[in-house]
Symmetry: C2
């Protein structure tokens, strides 16, 4: 993309292509043109037309390519995100395999918690933030969802009375609002 932009810039800057080679016939031609405004204009017009054709073709190609690029980039980015969850899946399967016949509730519970923590770590490393609103915080409709209204001792009206579920945010976008109860106004 940047390469093309540079190309394009160069195109714009050199209105008249610089030619360093000293060619006598070219000089003569140039001199003749200077003397013949009609020929000079024709040349100018033809050059402008050729440049317009070129820029239009570049533009069309760029539009076509950017559509394909977009789809490819989205698939690549989604694949990168999904790839992070593969080890979690592996650990699930390993833990379930090892503990398949275990009757040790404590070991099972610990295994369960380890995989859970790993999933949370993967989400956080991918850029997801967990929202843990506190009782008494003002209710914010952007990241809190009011499940019900209920009074709570020492909590102002319009503030959080109870938290049912945490919220999750990614790049300023609320993936899931935190589920709360709110003190009625």
């Amino acid at each position: 993309m940047n390469e093309q932009a540079r190309e394009h810039e160069t195109d714009d800057v050199n209105e008249i292509p610089a030619d360093e080679s000293i060619d006598e016939s070219a000089i003569e031609e140039q001199a003749a043109e200077e003397l013949d405004p009609l020929a000079e204009l024709q040349k100018e017009r033809d050059e402008l037309y050729a440049r317009l054709q070129r820029v239009s073709a570049d533009y069309q190609n760029f539009m076509r390519r950017s559509e394909t690029n977009l789809v490819d980039s989205i698939h690549l980015a989604s694949g990168d995100v999904l790839k992070r969850f593969v080890p979690v899946m592996d650990h699930f399967d390993t833990a379930l395999g090892v503990e398949a016949n275990s009757d040790d509730a404590k070991a099972l519970h610990d295994g369960f918690r380890i995989v859970r923590d790993e999933l949370m770590k993967v989400l956080q490393q991918a850029g997801v933030e967990r929202l843990d609103p506190q009782v008494g915080e003002p209710f914010d409709p952007h990241c809190h969802e009011a499940m019900l209204q209920q009074p709570a001792e020492g909590v102002e009206p319009g503030c959080i009375a109870q938290v049912f579920q945490p919220g999750y945010v990614y790049k300023n976008r609320t993936l899931r609002a935190a589920k709360v109860a709110v003190v009625p106004e």
Copy 2:
């Protein structure tokens, strides 16, 4: 430039041959241009130049926008993928909360398996396919990773002797190759 063109026109009016159509001024203009190739060429050149300026500006704007769009689209797509894992996280937390003091290994194991199956479902719904190569299948370096070589009864050389871990594929891209043992050649 236009002034000059008009000047020319006025100059040339008298030379315009008689014409039968009704709009005299239009005819005059047309005739003047026909008679003054220099003015015509100048107009053509100016129009081409204006179009070139417009197309170039559009092109530059499109390039700038498409860069921003790409980043936005990638964040949106990644967020969509990540959002799918939020319910898995919730179920983990619910299960761990409920079973916190459980000493029922069977119930814990079942809870563990339910969350594991949900994670697999989320991956599959996001477009991830699980690769479960079978013993005896030819080894494919695109989606299998050879951890070691070992013979296996009834399996041809270069074919899979044992499967250690499944693979995962997304949109023809191997997220993780299946880990296998291969019969030596």
